[in-house]
């Protein structure tokens, strides 16, 4: 199968980047790491914007970069010949050109840009038709970023590179934007590499995940596997939640119930109007369960309004001193489920010495 082969080394003062991996050339690959982990530098290397000391970058059968001590044949395709699309952290539209001219600028410099019909679709999804004749100085941050994404995609690039495209937006805009991207990326058959330090963006957009720390790869693989193995590292900064990957077992539109197969257990959720039409039976689905929506009991509660009660094993616990709460990690089928209980209940129920509990899941939301 075609892949993006990267094997590169570079040094910038104290910082060293050393990356060797093959990335799939379909769907979205997310490069996840804290600031200073080298994820932007890595992306810039792929684009040819950063000088690499040695290594090799090959996309499919095309070599973009090749340099080592032994061989005398060096290859370094300059950025403008790599046929990429690049979305910078700040939008960086060309200030002397209108929105329409910005989009055309990249298209005119590509042999096979996006076709008219696809371009129309991109413009519609990103909602930039009304902005076409405006200049970058008269656009808001979110508008600029939408144009920048359209401009990159309109080139119909071999590889779409995105460097935290949502970083400059506020939380509300971010959600709106994620929505745009979720609609847009599957529409196109363009492989993308997405750099982010946001667990939320990564879990919603990516199929493949690379974890980067201090210029080294901690892990890489399918999103599901990597999330499962590295949940703590990925989610440490945000409100704790768990991701459950399952398959839709049943869509009961009459009693408005969604039943998802998690392995050996089913989770039942109220079917929200918004997702009613977009879901199909047997479809793979990602569910997000906030830790605060999971409580535990020692006995199985009967005659309760709670739909989901699972018997789980306690894998470990962590006291959150500041909040006065305790975060439990439970094993549910093959998944890890996090539950947040008060420190008081933790002591009262003597959870320290107990290994099996009943987890009550009050709510879960469909991520994708």
């Amino acid at each position: 199968m075609d892949c993006l082969h990267c094997n590169l080394e570079l040094a910038r003062g104290d910082f060293n980047l050393k990356v060797a991996l093959d990335l799939p050339l379909n769907g979205v690959t997310a490069i996840f790491g804290q600031s200073g982990s080298g994820k932007t530098t890595f992306l810039r290397c792929l684009a040819g914007l950063e000088k690499i000391e040695k290594g090799k970058i090959q996309i499919g059968s095309t070599t973009w970069f090749s340099k080592n001590e032994l061989s005398t044949s060096e290859v370094e395709i300059p950025t403008y010949l790599r046929d990429i699309g690049y979305v910078f952290q700040e939008s960086n539209l060309l200030s002397h050109l209108s929105v329409k001219e910005n989009i055309r600028y990249g298209m005119q410099r590509r042999k096979k840009p996006l076709g008219d019909e696809e371009l129309r679709q991109v413009i519609e999804v990103l909602d930039i038709e009304p902005l076409m004749s405006r200049y970058p100085d008269n656009l808001s941050g979110g508008e600029k970023q939408r144009v920048a994404i359209a401009r990159a995609i309109a080139r119909n690039p071999k590889l779409l590179l995105m460097d935290e495209p949502l970083a400059s937006l506020d939380q509300r805009r971010k959600l709106e934007f994620l929505h745009y991207l979720e609609k847009l990326l599957p529409l196109l058959n363009i492989p993308a590499v997405y750099v982010s330090h946001s667990a939320q963006e990564v879990t919603r957009l990516a199929n493949y995940l690379v974890l980067l720390e201090n210029g080294h790869i901690l892990a890489h693989g399918n999103l599901v596997d990597i999330l499962r193995q590295n949940q703590n590292m990925i989610f440490q900064q945000s409100e704790s939640f768990s991701l459950l990957f399952g398959k839709i077992n049943e869509l009961d539109k009459k009693s408005r119930l969604l039943i998802v197969d998690l392995g050996s257990e089913n989770i039942r959720l109220p079917l929200h109007e918004e997702v009613l039409d977009s879901l199909q039976e047997k479809q793979d689905i990602r569910l997000q369960v906030m830790a605060k929506d999971v409580s535990v009991t020692l006995k199985r509660a009967s005659e309760s309004s709670i739909l989901n009660i699972f018997e789980c094993e306690i894998l470990n616990y962590e006291h959150l001193e500041r909040e006065g709460q305790t975060l439990l990690t439970l094993k549910l089928c093959e998944h890890q489920l996090q539950a947040k209980v008060s420190r008081y209940s933790f002591e009262e129920l003597q959870l320290r010495s107990i290994t099996r509990v009943f987890a009550q899941v009050k709510a879960a939301s469909v991520v994708r």
């Binding site: 300059p78 699309g85 910078f88 960086n92 060309l94 590509r110």
Partner: protein, 231 residues
Amino acid sequence: MPLSEQDLAAIFLTFKVASTTTVLLILIATPLAYWLARTKSLAKGFVGAIVALPLVLPPTVLGFYFLIAMGPDGFIGRLTSWMGIGYLPFTFWGVVIASFFYSLPFVVQPIQNSIEGLGKKPFEVAATLGASPRDTFFSVILPQTKNGFITAAVLGFAHTVGEFGVVLMVGGNIPGVTQVVSVQIYEHVESMNYHQAHWLSITMIIFAFTVLTTIYWFNRRSDKPLLRFGR
């Protein structure tokens, strides 16, 4: 008639020298300024200093060495004589070449400053959109540094009009060939012809004032000052 025929000839010649010099300056200073703005080479300081030399040297020093270099024993003189052009001192082109170097910093620096002011982002953005460096220069850099180029051209022209020492050393005072306005004023004063000197001087003041007003107007419209010295 406040300005004599000889005065008008001097004005005409001055504009001819300044226009020719400005065209040459823009053509040659642009790649030089681009290189100075973009390079990480250690030679940047050295080349930058050579370009800036006329800012601090007395024009007579510059003129003196040009006179020697263009003469029969100088390297420019040998070159021009080998090419069959003869010697350049006391000719129109001799004045143009000396003026070129004398005004070079006034053209290089505004262009260099405006390109440096763009930062590296426009270059990177254009590259990711498939533009070669040459393409980038004409389609992105030039439109975005337009004010820098206008300032450079106006300053180069005005500074050439205002020179005196270099022209006198290299060109002497030959009516219609090297006798520019500043030299003509000196001549009027030497021969106690104050009335004529006044008229020519006032013409120069009005010209200089108009030019400076234009430059300030352009600088006001751009975000960064384009002319800075002593960095």
